[in-house]
């Protein structure tokens, strides 16, 4: 029987973690990005269909009334309210929570480094992420591929023009052992190809890459524009390194009506699959209506970056105490 009180990470690793996080703070203070802290508990939460927020009830003393509060899955909504109030560039190192997600690369509680840069374009923000991973974490420079480009390079098909059948037959040929009854959307299959075919190839080639210009249907909270070929693309990027997805950046959607529409269609999907619908964040929508500045923002899983920098295999190797023993 191994005892269960000991830390999950060794103390030496925790010292390195503390130093790297201090270096991250220095990196941002040198660039005049303001550190902020926003509430961990909120009455609203993201609506994304496969994102499951923890929640709890607030009950004022002496009252029977209960108000549900969600633990944040990211500090995004609160930080955007600060941006609308003219905060300028801001960053946050925040504990975030995602119910159900536990594994070698997932902890239900983890640390997010998230920042917003009103004066930077999406490509300038990629430059800044690249500076951070090189200067602070001593990792290799990050290459750039468009979503279309990386699929053409590794899979030899055009994600915008190929048929659903083309994608299905590629999956059948290249990915073994999938559930026979698997039914997914076109984006579901593309995401599966990304994580089963492209990510491992990038990892085997030791390549860190930004992938940008996603299909519009994967826009999340990013703007949608036309690319050079006239395809509708979502102005967002993801950073992949060491076989992991490390960061997700947006040229932030500023249109409150469009955002409400995306929240509502997420909640419809949730209803269809019988999962809890989520209260829409009216404060965020009001802030956007008041006017959020043109802005690029990125959320980065800090532990995954620490794993790469400290050459650790498991997310719990860089967390003081793992979720299962908390």
């Amino acid at each position: 029987m191994t005892s269960t009180w000991q830390p999950s990470a060794d103390i030496e690793t925790l010292k390195k973690r503390a130093q790297l996080i201090a270096d991250v703070r220095l990196f941002f203070s040198q660039r005049d990005v303001l550190e902020v802290e926003t509430p961990i508990l909120s009455q609203a939460a993201p609506t994304a269909p496969y994102l499951d927020s923890f929640y709890t009830d607030f009950s004022p003393l002496g009252s029977e009334h209960k108000q549900t509060y969600f633990l944040q899955t990211s500090p995004e909504f609160a930080m955007k309210r600060l941006l609308a109030a003219h905060s300028g560039s801001i960053y946050q190192i925040a504990s975030v929570f995602r119910n159900g997600e536990s594994g070698r690369l997932h902890s239900p509680e983890f640390t997010m480094l998230e920042w917003y840069r009103p004066e930077l374009t999406l490509f300038q923000l990629m430059d800044e992420v690249n500076d951070l991973v090189q200067q602070v974490f001593n990792l290799a420079p990050v290459l750039r591929f468009s979503y279309r480009g990386i699929f053409e390079f590794f899979c030899k098909f055009n994600v915008f023009t190929c048929s659903d059948d083309d994608i299905q037959s590629f999956v059948a040929k290249r990915i073994d052992g999938l559930p026979a009854d698997l039914v997914m959307t076109r984006d579901g299959w593309l995401e599966l190809i990304m994580s089963y075919v492209i990510e491992p190839r990038l990892a085997a080639m030791n390549m860190s890459v930004f992938i940008y210009d996603f299909p519009a249907s994967q826009a999340q909270l990013a703007k949608v524009e036309k690319d050079g070929q006239g395809n509708d693309v979502a102005k967002r990027f993801e950073l992949y390194a060491g076989g992991m997805e490390l960061a997700n950046g947006y040229d932030e959607l500023l249109d409150a009506d469009e955002l409400r529409h995306r929240f509502n269609s997420d909640n419809q999907l949730r209803q269809q699959k019988n999962t809890k619908t989520i209260p829409v964040d009216e404060h965020l929508l009001a802030a956007m209506t008041a006017g959020m500045p043109q802005c690029s923002g990125v959320a980065l899983g800090l532990e995954r970056l620490l794993m790469l920098a400290l050459k650790k295999k498991n997310i719990n190797d860089v967390r003081a105490i793992k979720f299962e023993l908390a």
């Binding site: 496969y50 994102l51 997600e101 536990s102 594994g103 997932h106 997914m184 579901g188 990304m194």
Partner: protein
């Protein structure tokens, strides 16, 4: 046998897949993009010994397999079955040719082997990582050649043929790594 949901998957879990007992080697949660979650499992089919990958939707269930690993001493063969003995209870277990196929050339009486049993009967016999075996046949040794260059084939008492340094002779006992079928060193008799 109990059912197991994907959230109970971990390495070492024995489960049934397409009628064969399997052992999970690695289990990884994958969440492609913002989509649904999967468990990507690397497993060994305990009947064939083959390693494969299978993806489960998170929340899927599998049937557990009644599989146990026991340490048994090899006794003898009658040509059809190979008999292994539990040294505590003296109970005999008969393994068929399929079960001993991979470790046949390392089978020596009184050595202890790991026997994987499914529903109580031997499914797979695994040799220890290292065994000491005597050379029964090889070209005469070359005295003075200790550099270990080149080497020559030697037949061992179990019938296995391994490459050994030139100075080895019939009657020498060698330590063999059964995973790579390679000579490691000369063992004390």
């Amino acid at each position: 046998m109990a059912n197991f949901s994907t959230n109970e998957f971990k390495s070492g879990l024995k489960f049934m897949l397409d009628g064969d007992p399997c052992n999970i080697i690695e289990n990884e949660l994958v969440k492609p993009g913002k989509g649904q979650a999967f468990n990507r499992v690397k497993y060994r089919n305990l009947k064939t010994g083959r390693v494969n990958e299978k993806t489960f939707k998170s929340g899927d269930k599998v049937e557990g397999a009644d599989v146990m690993e026991v340490e048994l001493e090899y006794s003898y063969t009658d040509g059809e079955f190979w008999y292994f003995m539990d040294s505590d209870t003296f109970e005999q277990h008969a393994a068929d040719a399929n079960a001993i196929e991979d470790c046949k050339k390392w089978l020596k009486e009184q050595y202890v082997y790991t026997v994987t049993q499914w529903n109580g009967s031997p499914l797979l016999v695994t040799a220890p990582n290292f065994v000491n075996l005597e050379v029964t046949e090889t070209d005469p040794g070359l005295k003075g050649d200790t550099a270990g260059t080149g080497g020559k084939p030697a037949t061992l008492e179990t019938g296995a043929v391994v490459r050994v340094p030139l100075f080895m002779n019939v009657g020498d006992v060698l330590r063999i790594d059964t995973r790579s079928a390679e000579y490691v060193e000369r063992a004390k008799k």
